[in-house]
Symmetry: C2
Subunit: 409 residues, 2 copies
């Protein structure tokens, strides 16, 4: 029996970066309104000054701050009320010495004025006169032209995965179209004679395909498009033809099953035969998911995931999300977690990083992490686990009651 | 000036639950392969036993455990090798006393056998004979029929937001179609004379529309479909007509702007005029986002968000996600966070829950939360903030260096 040559997750990520960080992905220009979740293909700078005119941040009176120095409740300053600025319209009347003009929040501040006093600290005496009860510093409640964004200022960096807020940023600087990377094309293949495809009649001894569903949906969540999904039996020739076609049509090929060391495991030979530089690693120091193959086949990643559905999902969640960011020139995101107390002991795996699946539940203000086990309860495990606790290499485990970080699945 | 009657976020959620938790949403039946992110419309039970046959969890020999009790390295048990089970095929040869049959991981365990011994603890001596060096307990490495899922067992509950893993669960129990709620239809409207729509020429004094972009994208991320998006000027009659039409065509109406107390604020009157029971609250004890209106207009929620883009996004992130779950009969999810150290003091807001926007950055193994301020840097704030720190009502704030929870935006 050939032994797997395992590498750590960190080393695997370094290998992936070395092989695929300069992958060339085509770009396309799309409407900002549909760009959420897409990856920016170039640094984006503002072609406009924001705001393009001086804006008030309060409802109040635009005036010259020098006119009201020392104003107080007992000794107000009296100003001539010259005009009222309407929202969305230019401020037509300039403010001279002794003048005031009403401005709403977000309205344009007239020429000549250098501050706005909040309406709460004023009193309109007549149609032509207003009393001001507070002094103001120059520029108080006034946003100057370009205060927010300068012309040519870098706003969003290449590789940014656009959020809902980012769409607002883009439209605010006058962009309604944006250049993004084309969605990564992914092929998802399940292998094994024991797997019945969704439209196949199931034979005694077979189980239904799970992995093309879970891996395809997970790839779409990451921002990929799935161009090919298929179940292939244990037939090396057919598997090879399928992989060749998938590699042709996609940026990433994901297959599952057939990657442990055993009689029926054609995957490694078939993947190795696809082309240079070939297999980068066969086996990762990770539980569950040790028998994972990663290859660079003519510049494209071909990943052999374990056949076990939970292992396949977990390994994909690490390698897939890392690769997708890498190939979109995007920084790896900061992961968030929930702190929870273990309801029982969990064990590490000697020499491997272990992920223990858990179910989160509330307990008053705190959370509990209930380990979910699953040799026989595979489907229950898939259905009930809501997160994972990571146990680093060479850590024995954590005991019941320990506060751990649960990373949502 | 009319004062806002503010309520807390908790009280607002209770009001929303009271008004909209029995909202009737139509259902549709779709392919499992496209069901990720959709909400299940009924409790889903298994129509099958999983697994449908006894499976081995290891590569090894199926045998009768009684035949190998006491087997050891020095005193192995010798069994007759009768057959080899092929993956995906029935086990044709029953195991009698003194017999062994090879079974791969996931293969069918033959009748008569009650345990599997891992191949590591065996030696194939000839084509017909195998030595076993370990004893096995009954049922060792064997998953019985229905061990994973019983027929009729509840697998996924009504209201479940389907994950990639759930698709695998559904297909594993033989379902390729699933009944889900129709996507909630949402209308998104920006109001104000100062707002220029994406296709409008911008006038001096106007700014570009941001909120229809950000709120629509955020609604889609929550699993809604946006059926209507529009910019409406400060025209009560036009706003009313637009709202009436939107309420007709959608399940939720979101408008932004025009909700603070001021001369041009038609929103409240217009929303109140739409029908019974009408406005539930005008003003929430939340910073930033106090001038928020929530109404029940003929059974449908009409939400008036603040006009300020950051406030609109934050308020939508609270009310929108809560409502979407509620109207899909779905449990509220457990939020995850990143623990980070504040790089400067942040202040609470008297009588209000405050959300301080921050930018997360790595500092070695830990994270820092850098507060982002934005009276004048609105767009920069939208573009750079990656999370929020929540400061509860009547909390003064947190000082520099405090470890706080940052909730990703």
């Amino acid at each position: 029996m050939e032994l797997l040559n395992v590498i750590t997750i960190e080393d695997l990520k370094a290998l992936l970066a070395e092989n695929f960080s300069s992958y060339r992905l085509d770009t396309e220009t799309i409407d900002v309104s549909v760009a959420s979740g897409r990856f920016l293909a170039c640094d984006t700078a503002s072609a406009e000054l924001v705001p393009p005119f001086r804006r008030s941040t309060m409802d109040g009176y635009a005036l010259r701050s020098a006119d009201i120095s020392g104003a107080s409740d007992s000794l107000p300053a009296f100003l001539m009320l010259r005009d009222e600025v309407k929202m969305g319209h230019p401020a037509d009347t300039a403010v001279g010495p002794g003048d005031a003009v009403y401005v709403p929040t977000g309205g344009m501040v007239p020429d000549g004025a250098d501050a706005v006093v909040m309406i709460e600290y004023t009193e309109k005496l007549t149609d032509n006169e207003v009393a001001i009860y507070r002094p103001a510093a120059a520029r108080e409640h006034v946003i100057s032209v370009g205060d927010d964004i300068k012309k040519g200022e870098l706003i969003l960096k290449k590789g940014r995965k656009l959020t809902a807020a980012d769409l607002g940023v883009l439209t605010s600087i006058g962009l309604t179209r944006v250049e993004v990377y084309r969605k990564l094309a992914v092929s998802v293949i399940s292998t094994g004679d024991e797997i019945a495809g969704p439209d196949d009649d199931i034979r005694l001894g077979q189980v239904r395909d799970i992995n093309t569903y879970t891996i395809a949906a997970a790839a779409e969540e990451l921002g990929c498009r799935v161009v090919h999904r298929q179940v292939v039996g244990d037939d090396a020739q057919l598997l090879r033809e399928t992989l060749v076609q998938c590699r042709e049509e996609s940026d990433i090929v994901m297959l599952s099953g057939g990657s442990s060391v055993g009689v029926k495991d054609y995957s490694q030979q078939v993947i190795a035969s696809l082309g240079e530089p070939g297999i980068l690693c066969h086996g990762i120091a990770f539980k569950p998911g040790k028998p994972t193959i990663v290859a660079n086949s003519g510049g494209k990643p071909v990943i052999g995931l374990p056949g076990h559905p939970v292992s396949a999902m977990l390994v994909f969640s690490i390698i897939g999300s890392y690769l997708v960011r890498l190939m979109n020139c995007s920084e790896q995101p900061i992961e968030s977690w929930v702190e929870a107390f273990l309801t029982e002991n969990v064990n590490g795996a000697p020499g491997r990083e272990a992920w223990q699946m858990v179910n989160l539940r509330r307990n008053g203000e705190a959370y509990e992490a209930v380990p979910v086990h699953g040799e026989s309860g595979l489907i229950s495990l898939l259905a009930s686990a809501s997160g994972s606790v990571r146990i680093p290499v060479n850590t024995e485990g954590y005991s019941k009651g320990t506060a751990v970080r649960v990373y949502p699945l």
